[in-house]
Symmetry: C2
Subunit: 361 residues, 2 copies
């Protein structure tokens, strides 16, 4: 029997409780699919700051590198908001991405038919549904570019960062996008600001060049300001969107919120050799932490992405996704996706929701 090692980084706020349900579903799926699991646990974010003084202990990095995949809950909370930037919880997130070389962030933004009413757009705009895969570059751009810092210019203070992409960085993320499109609608829209930025000009040039290897995929280009508009205006026009770290941060959150189901959306961060990292896109929701109110479905769907992308267990992934759909169809809802006034819906807690999905595998 095949055995996989998963490093679990529960993190802060609702992290531990959603992760417990994600792991329960993972265990159930492993039983069904016939593979073994070894779980290790690492500290990250605020929990790591409290225990070790920093958001990403070396031990956590070591455990992650030894694993076949990493599951992350959520990091951060008001408790650590006033800590100096260099050791804040988010640094743990940025650090683990960089340490594991997780350059490709896959962020689906989809509407579940059962949750259509939650979509924030006018119903006629989303008649055709929303099913976008945002491929965000995750280890480059102005997030990590050097030089950066503060300096004196003409006798006054100036803060600065460097927005930079190398050809190989652009090429490999473009490839991920084209490959993803092949498994979907065969359309890639590359988002940049090539009418203003030099870095975007190289981005566009390389994406166009790499596209030569994917003649079966349709490629288009859009400026980031226009993309921010088109996501609201006509989201169904998009299949795969590929973009840099900063634009991807903004657009993927915009696309996610539009669906109205942020508590439902998973993500995968993949590298070349190291294990992939899987996490819900929502935050640590400190206001409801520990109250068994959180929605574990984004974490559970992240488990499905893990099975698909890291273990090539498409069957297990599809099984989990189907169970989530079934539970929604049966009318079970956590508070965040509860529809006021709708008939036949049953409010459940985090634990109960996890159990229901596991039972439906």
């Amino acid at each position: 029997m095949k055995n996989y090692t998963i490093c679990v980084l529960a993190g802060d706020g609702i992290g531990p409780e959603i992760m417990a349900q994600g792991i329960a579903v993972l265990r159930a799926a492993a039983d069904k699919c016939g593979f073994g699991l070894t779980l290790t646990e690492g500290l990250i974010g605020g929990a790591a700051i409290d225990a070790t003084g920093g958001p990403l202990p070396a031990e956590t990095v070591r455990l992650c590198k030894q694993a076949d995949a990493v599951m992350l809950g959520a990091v951060g909370g008001p408790k650590w908001d006033n800590i100096e930037k260099a050791i804040r919880p988010e640094r743990g997130l940025l650090g683990i991405r960089k340490e594991l070389g997780l350059f490709a962030n896959l962020r689906p933004a989809t509407i579940f038919p059962e949750l259509k009413a939650a979509c924030l757009l006018r119903p006629d705009i989303v008649e055709g549904g929303i099913d976008i895969m945002i491929v965000r570059e995750l280890t480059g751009d102005v997030y990590f570019g050097e030089p950066k810092g503060e300096k004196t210019v003409d006798g006054e203070r100036a803060g600065y960062n460097t927005m930079i992409y190398r050809e190989s960085e652009i090429r490999r993320i473009a490839r991920v996008a084209f490959e993803a499109a092949r498994k979907r609608g065969r359309k890639v829209c590359s988002v940049d600001k090539a009418n203003v930025l030099d870095v975007s000009q190289l981005w566009r040039e390389i994406v166009i060049d790499e596209h030569k290897n994917y003649p079966d995929v349709e490629l288009s280009h859009m400026y980031v300001d226009n993309a921010a508009m088109q996501l609201v205006r006509w989201p169904a026009q998009f299949d795969v969107i590929v973009t840099g770290n900063l634009f991807g941060d903004i657009l993927s959150d915009e696309a996610a919120v539009i669906t109205g189901s942020i508590g439902m959306l998973p993500s995968a961060s993949l590298g070349a050799q190291n294990p992939g990292l899987y996490e819900p896109i929502h935050g640590s929701a400190p206001d409801i932490a520990g109250q068994d109110k959180a929605n574990p479905l984004a974490t559970i769907l992240s488990v499905a992405m893990l099975l698909r992308h890291s273990f090539d267990q498409e069957q297990g992934a599809a099984m989990i996704e189907k169970a989530v759909r079934t539970v929604l169809q049966q009318g079970y809802r956590t508070g965040d996706i509860m529809q006021q006034g709708a008939q036949g819906l049953k409010l459940v807690g985090c634990r109960e929701m996890g159990k229901l999905v596991a039972a439906n595998l």
Copy 2:
């Protein structure tokens, strides 16, 4: 009688036709308010490229600097899409902003009650309307930061730009935002990415410091990814948003499209001494150029902003805004704001719409 000189940059596509209506309304307002007008005309964008080889002739800059205010139509179109970046139409826009030191871009995003149905969000989300003033810094940031270009890193090509703000640049745009808030809802939300970017940390620090001079205004901070979400989730929470050039580019377009009335939204770009520049936020719409189909209302409302901000003619500004509302209430619509299936609406062309507004002053 007071006399003002206006430099008119009609630009490309629908630029000339919307500008003709804007100027007609400006003339009518001048008559009513009792001031004189001298108009000069300059080339910009594609029109300038065709005539002179570059998008911003020195003569245009000279004319603008001599004027009391500048009106701009729109620039760009497919004809100039494949020209090398350094002399493309947009360069004219970036160039005139920089030449005139127009560091403050005021972009209102509002819903006109008559056009509420056009809003792209679910009706229950925008029950309270949308009335946001985005104050975008316009002459700094990664748009103009040095160094920039292409270089070789580890033997491969890299494209790069510098995201940079000096203390004085942050201070003066913060002041514009606080002053604007005093005339509105007394709330400023500053948008940055201070959890990742050094330039944003200085931004936040200086905005907080400058806020000490405006204790009557409420200040909050938001990360740009969250702001992109909150604009869709709950736009009524915002009064004034202040942000940098790049984030402002993205968020102001997002906020504008949400209203569903992009053809209605004006903008003002202001500097310290030089004349302000006023323009509709929409593009040059080459597909309908010359067909008398364009909506001139954004240009006409830009004239109102001009009277308010450059000439301190609040009465004239309010008169124009009221006339636009009246015409909408009377049911007149250009194609872009025509509501399918609604009763009592009358489709009109660009010229007719301009005439109607002038007649209602």
